[in-house]
Symmetry: C2
Subunit: 253 residues, 2 copies
DNA sequence: CCACCGTCAAGAGCAGTGTTCTCGAAAGTT
DNA sequence: AACTTTCGAGAACACTGCTCTTGACGGTGG
């Protein structure tokens, strides 16, 4: 049988992958700023100049790693969404949020690469990255949509809070068929999620609260509930259900 | 009259200040990672080695800048708190939050220096930085205390959400005489505030929402109100009052 | 007044970096 | 077999943070 893809390009792709792998290790160890092309080349028995056959510059390499990071995060979120129970929207949201936090904790350097200052010279992004990030927010939107449709939260309260100008901005965004209030709700939980993860990851929380999964759960459930809950919510009960399904899906690996 | 402080140390302090000033400019222009000791020395007609008489290393310089940034932010917040009307706790909180956002927008590199990944090798911090950051959170606590005492929000709802373990952690924190629920409330608005500012500053918001003061106001008021509001709140009215006092205090400069 | 001594700045130098160039060897194509 | 494209090596340039040594200046004590 013949190879549909030329042998030349195949081995080229493998070296590209090897470069990215080695670079990924260096990045995970010493941080993004300390990523050295020469060190990467040295680690894989190459000359620094040879790397330039595969990446135009150091920034290009980091950009590629950043794109992979975006993709990895999106994969994780989608997987969490699909693995979560479809009939319990509250825990589904909590599990998605948890997987986001877990990913950030397991891939700290990638997280800073994505959400840190200036995403590593991602200037020339021909919607390559954009697609990946939209996959992530899509998961968030689906969670929100489910929660609203299930009648768990009422967007009426939040809708009343929106100023005309802000509502116009949300309508201009319009990346879904949900209304402006739903988009505002997404932004709300989104900022809360990112805020807590970032503060935690960068050691800006007081010691007793650092690395606290409980604080995260409480804030994430609360973020959803406070949008406009109908009736009281037993936080502990939600957490217990989430823990249960998580053990169920994580155990048989 | 004689100088109480020796002339020697005085001129030394001025050169230290000059180094910090020049470094600050370079930092503001090309970012923190691109700060070059040689460039700083070149800009002020010095030799690179001479700078080592004043700063042990490049990290030491950046740490010094970071400390100043912390101090600057704390000053800004305290000033905003004092300038705000004491009888309108809701707008007082909004004005403090706004000043935080404004500071972040006017000092982007300093903000990333503070809240970005690994605060620039701030390993040896003998509570020097710690004091400054506590000044900042103190302002937040005072806002929360005022709002609670004024009866604007009810901590009872939030208190019911806390799990025993989480309540224990908050009590262990105990950096104020307010209860665990109040501290949880502070963390809530704190994460929301930081999350939105960080996302905005690092260009992670969709274009229609980028750099939106309206979104910020809505989220900040909402964060406070949703903790446990008594009766409906007219967001537009709060914003109008805040705008008024802001024009009042900003105009006569 | 002079000698002293701590402080300062300069200069050279080391090890490292990203990047660009040229050149020879290998691989694939005709 | 000849030609072309691709690849890697090596040298070189302009940087970087940092260290060490060598003088020079200035305030202070004899």
């Amino acid at each position: 049988m013949t190879h549909p893809v030329p042998r030349r390009e195949r081995i080229r792709q493998t070296t590209i992958d090897e470069i990215k792998t080695v670079a990924h290790e260096q990045l995970a160890e010493h941080g993004a700023a300390a990523l050295s092309l020469r060190a990467v080349a040295r680690a894989m028995g190459m000359t620094p100049s040879a790397i330039y056959r595969y990446f135009d510059s150091r920034s290009a390499l980091i950009s590629a790693l950043a794109r992979d990071a975006y993709s990895s995060l999106a994969d994780t979120l989608e997987a969490a969404f699909l693995a979560a129970p479809a009939d319990d929207q509250m825990v589904r949201w909590l599990l998605v949020a948890r997987s986001h936090r877990r990913w950030a904790k397991t891939h700290p350097t990638e997280y800073t690469l994505i959400f840190g200052p200036r995403p590593a010279d991602l200037t020339g992004r021909p919607t390559a990255v954009q697609n990946e990030v939209e996959r992530s927010v899509a998961v968030l939107f689906r969670c929100m949509q489910e929660v609203v449709e299930a009648g768990i939260v009422d967007l009426g309260v939040l809708d009343a809070e929106l100023s005309p100008g802000l509502r116009a901005r949300f309508q201009e965004w319009d990346c879904t068929d949900l209304g402006p209030a739903a988009e505002a709700a997404c932004m709300l939980v989104w900022t809360q999620l990112h805020g807590l993860i970032a503060l935690d990851l960068f050691d800006h929380l007081p010691p007793p609260l650092a690395d606290s999964a409980e604080l995260f759960d409480q804030q994430m459930i609360g973020a959803l509930v406070r949008i406009g809950h109908r009736g009281p919510v037993d936080f502990a009960e939600v957490i217990r259900r989430a823990d249960l399904t998580e053990q169920h899906t994580l155990a048989p690996t």
